[in-house]
């Protein structure tokens, strides 16, 4: 179980980073960008939210497996590694981040960004000093939700990374294995741990989504 906890921490750590960076960039693109196919992109990125995780995992098998650019050009083989599990967890957690972050960025008054421009601030500065600070609560809320979802990822991870004890076996899989083998005590312990973390993430999210005192 300790080994599984470590694997989960590694997977979630990487997934959180990926969700934070790509989620923020994509949310900016979706909230502020004007290009054809924007709605299509948004729908595609939201798809993992409603697809069965096994379907996401199945697609990932193709994306990461034999014949994929990642494997052929970079020599990266992520199948059945914890990094592969991190990719699956990121993909499933991303839509939750996008929903929240996109709405928060869209709610920033464009006139404030215009004001920053007329005050001589470059576009990156406008982003870092006006847009993102004003949207930070929604972005953080999305990040917590996405991370919680990544921690609970099971189906897609199983398809892509398998269930190798000490290497790709994460906490949700411990629950599955323990329950099947009749080790109800372990299943209950891990279930309670995961539930506690999920509850905490939701509570923090709720707190962040409340209007600020200012």
């Amino acid at each position: 179980m300790l080994a599984a906890l470590l694997v989960s921490l590694k997977v979630v750590g990487v997934a959180t980073l990926v969700i934070a960076v790509f989620g923020t960039l994509l949310a900016l693109l979706l909230a502020r960008g004007r290009f054809p196919g924007r709605t299509l992109l948004e729908l595609l990125l939201t798809l993992p939210l409603v697809l069965p995780p096994t379907v996401v995992g199945f697609f990932l098998l193709y994306l990461l497996g034999r014949g994929s650019p990642l494997r052929e050009w970079l020599g990266l083989d992520l199948l059945f590694t914890w990094q592969g599990a991190a990719v699956a967890a990121s993909l499933v957690g991303l839509p939750l981040m996008l929903q929240s972050a996109r709405a928060a960025i869209a709610a920033v008054d464009p006139e404030l960004e215009d004001a920053a421009r007329t005050l001589g601030r470059s576009e990156p500065e406008v982003l870092l000093r006006v847009t993102l600070p004003l949207a930070h609560r929604g972005i953080l809320a999305g990040l917590f939700l996405g991370t919680a979802r990544a921690l609970g990822e099971f189906g897609a991870t199983l398809m892509v990374a398998g269930n190798i004890p000490g290497r790709t076996r994460t906490l949700p899989m411990v629950v599955y294995d323990a329950a099947l083998s009749g080790d109800l005590a372990t299943a209950a312990q891990v279930s309670l741990l995961l539930s506690g973390i999920a509850f905490l993430a939701l509570a923090i999210t709720r707190r962040l989504e409340q209007p600020s005192r200012r």
Binding site: D109, E111, L112, D114, A115, A116, R117, T118, L119, G120, R121, S122, R129, V130, P133, L134, R214
Partner: protein, 376 residues
Amino acid sequence: MKMDERLYVEIEKRYPGFHLQVRLSLRTEVMVLYGPSGAGKTQTLRAIAGLMRPDRGEIRLDGRPLFRCQGTRATVNVPPQGRRIGYVFQGYALFPHLTALENVAFGIRGRHRREEALSWLRRMRLEHVAHLYPSQLSGGQQQRVAIARTLAAGPAALLLDEPFSALDLDAKRRLQEELRQLQRELSLPVLYVTHSLEDAFAVGERIAVITEGRVQQVGALAEVVARPANRRVASVFGLPNVIRARVRCLSPEGLLLDWDGRELLAAPRSLPAGAWVFAHIRPEEVRFIYPDRPLSAAVRHNRLRVQVLEQRLGPDFRLVRVLTQEPPWAELEVRSPPSTYMDLGIAPGSQLEVAVRPAGIVVLETAEEAAEEGGG
């Protein structure tokens, strides 16, 4: 280019159902951009600041081109960051996550940002609220922070969009005075957007009247208000007594008009007989005639029998609305100092006679000019 020209704007932009066509030239002065909402005032400011790209035209500040596009592609289009145009937004656009001090320091570069921002706050009598957030400030304080923030960035020209419309009269008067002082000290060309004539007179020297996307008239404030160039300008000012009449002939005494069957002698202007015109009977030029006194030479012309509809007394005016008791049965406004006509006993229903000297009736434009404007 005129010698004293600072900011030159000549732009065109087509929107669905709206065509913006503006030409302005500012010296070191406060020019009021005046017009009804939807006339294109804010779009003009946005174009100057670089926040909206016109279809074609040219914008220059102190001889330096900020935007130039004569064909289809812009040859010059300086981004807003490089224009040195200060913009005070209508809703102030203060950064809600920054304190007053941080807001003012936002556009300042260099090592002494904090000190400079503080001195601007002191200058605007705001040092005691430096640590507060915009939501903790009063409307007048927010507006002063917005102005301080804009000026602290060191602009070479200043644009203000309805800056004081949300403030109470007291705060407004003080800020208008401060603005004039700052403008003189910093020698800035200032374009001040408003739809309040009172505001215009409080801050401006010259006025540009804009309606339906076009600058209709530019000139000294009092001059433009007294002599609107056309019917549109007259109607933005809410001018009373604008009539439609037909030219009879130009006589040695003035221009003879036919106002729905009633002859009027107007200020001379060379126009062909038969032309339709819009004319303005200036309310302060309409005089009541005392029935028991001999007529002076000034009231020889344009006499009309009228009935009083309503009378309003202000601190510095007496305003009487009357209805002519002969064709064309039209309403007129009569304006005079409050102390006049005391012994005439004016009251609703009074039957009186008025006279207007020819110089008090000014042709604004011909109906053809009006039709062309409307069509083009």
